[in-house]
Amino acid sequence: MQPDPWAEWQAFSATGAAPGGPSSFAPFADLTERFNAAARAYFDGAANAPAPAAAAAAAGSFGVALRELFSNIQLPWNLSGGANGSSAPAMFAMNSPALGASREFQLRAQRIADAWRRIEEAQRRLQRIGADAVRAAAAAFIARLAASPAPAPSAEVLHKLYGTWIDCAEDAYSRAAHSEPFSSALAEYVNASSEWRKELQASVEHSAKLLDLPTRSEINTLTQRLIALEHELRARPEVTRPKAATATGKRQRAQRKKAKT
């Protein structure tokens, strides 16, 4: 079914397209307002002090404000939904020797805890790199602004300033993202997440077996058997490949059925 963009547009704008409202646009409206506030302070500062020192000082304050504003922005790599507290109970298992009948269970719990610790550490590394990039972006933004007198404020100028800030932010981020520390931290984040998911899945499957419930591993085994069977059948010369349905074929069948009735 074709999507209806206009209906979607109506849906989210009708849910409250106002600052602080429930609309999906609310974060961007908030961002816009806060950017505008920082920009107004910049224009006021530049206008109320003798040039050229005024422009430099006002630009500096503007850059610092942006650095603070964007330092808390959730960038796409923050996938785990936060790294606070949730690992604490699991860490208990990390520090205990695995003994007795539940040894395998304890070992798995330790592996899950260790994977979660690695996820948190990788996420902290990524956040540090991101914060450094925002700091570098703020410095570049200040340098660009200080190079010329502050323009007269207008909606167009504000939009241009925002564009300049984004350019600085993307330049700084791109340098960081191409670096070895970033790719290492991202890989560690993904690899630890894979390990965590694998151990968690094994744990859930263990419980499922105790309750005699089907598991994904069993379904996978059956799927692979079916695929192998299909390949085997295709390899036999006497078995022709099943014909895929064609629109013409469907129409012909429908016409034949209609003719019979």
Binding site: D4, W9, P76, A169, H178, N220, T246
Partner: protein
């Protein structure tokens, strides 16, 4: 940037009646499982060339090729009189987790090609591969050169280790086998990775710009169509994804002539058909150098590269692309 005026504009827009998406007329001419082969209804006098099969990427939905009437590569091609087919790979689910690249090439893509050749009583056709679909097209063409009359690649990576290729740098240290496990790969997670390539522009600026632009109904519809497409990302069949990332992004086998599909070497030097390589100079997903490498790798003496001052998505839907890209393709095909 005046949010208040933008919000009032949005409220006014919300009161308007919905508009229909402008897509070209087409019909399913072949189907196999989730794979559908579409043929588009002609809208101009037929050009004297073989049918053109568009092979789109697995990671996004192919309707980006025909988004709306005034932003449609397919419509542009139809206007040039070309007979256009398109493969829709569908949405892989849990039953497709063991589907491999060989399955995509030897069963799905080959099935579509055979269907078209049979319907037209031809031995070969023209193929247009887009992005990852271009990589599949190159592999298919190298394995079945007799089936291809002319090959067009569009924003297609060939050398996956070019210096500006950020995705490749990120992918190289990831344990892809562990990531995939025995399952599929979530399209949502892949989207997060794509957004991370330019997070400030893609997760903030474009929305702020939209508010600041005080969009009219047409602009809002345009924006929402693209937004819909960006986040309409199919999950990826696990085995094929693992092979693609390992063989192409991590090991760069295609460019190094070390790629094997089902035991057959994918040797690009075997490609001797005319090749048109379309490149976006401002492509952040597929850096130009990744595409331009094709020239040195293929055996064809009839090779043309056209660079457009456009980004990855702009190559399909920008106003400039509508004027330049379909006409360039049609002109190139007409000369062969």
């Amino acid at each position: 940037m005046t949010p208040a005026s933008s919000f009032s504009a949005l409220a006014a827009l919300a009161a308007a009646t919905p508009g229909a998406a402008g897509c070209s007329e087409r019909e399913v001419v072949w189907q196999s499982g989730k794979i559908k082969l579409f043929r588009y209804r002609p809208i101009a006098r037929p050009a004297a060339s073989a049918p053109l099969l568009i092979v789109y990427a697995l990671v996004n939905r192919p309707y980006m090729m025909d988004l709306q009437e005034d932003r449609s590569l397919i419509r542009g091609l139809l206007n040039e009189g070309l007979d256009v087919y398109l493969i829709d790979w569908g949405y892989p689910d849990g039953a497709d987790r063991f589907t491999t690249l060989a399955d995509y090439l030897d069963d799905h893509l080959a099935g579509c090609v055979e269907q078209i050749l049979k319907a037209h009583h031809l031995d070969d056709l023209n193929m247009l591969g887009v992005c990852q679909g271009g990589v599949l097209s190159l592999c298919f063409s190298a394995l079945h050169p007799q089936r291809i009359k002319n090959l067009i690649t569009m924003v297609t990576p060939v050398d996956f280790h070019s210096p500006a290729d950020l995705l490749s740098k990120w992918a190289r240290k990831i344990d892809v086998a562990a990531w995939v496990g025995d399952g599929n790969v979530s399209g949502d997670v892949l989207n997060q990775l794509f957004l991370s390539l330019m997070p400030f522009r893609l997760t903030q600026q474009k929305y702020v710009d939209l508010l600041a632009a005080n969009p009219d109904r047409a602009a809002a519809e345009n924006f929402m169509r693209v937004e819909q497409w960006i986040f309409d990302s199919p999950d990826q069949a696990g085995a094929a994804f693992r092979e693609f990332v390992t063989w192409f992004y991590q090991e760069n086998r295609l460019a190094q002539n070390r790629l094997e599909i089902s035991g057959r070497n994918v040797d690009l030097r075997a490609l001797r058909v005319p090749i048109l390589n379309l490149i976006g100079k401002r492509d952040h997903l597929v850096p130009p150098a990744a595409s331009l490498a094709l020239r040195e790798l293929v055996g064809s003496s009839d090779y043309t590269a056209l660079e457009f001052d456009l980004g990855h998505i702009g190559m399909y839907i920008s106003a400039r692309a509508q004027h330049e890209v379909p006409a360039s393709i049609a002109k190139w095909l007409a000369a062969r």
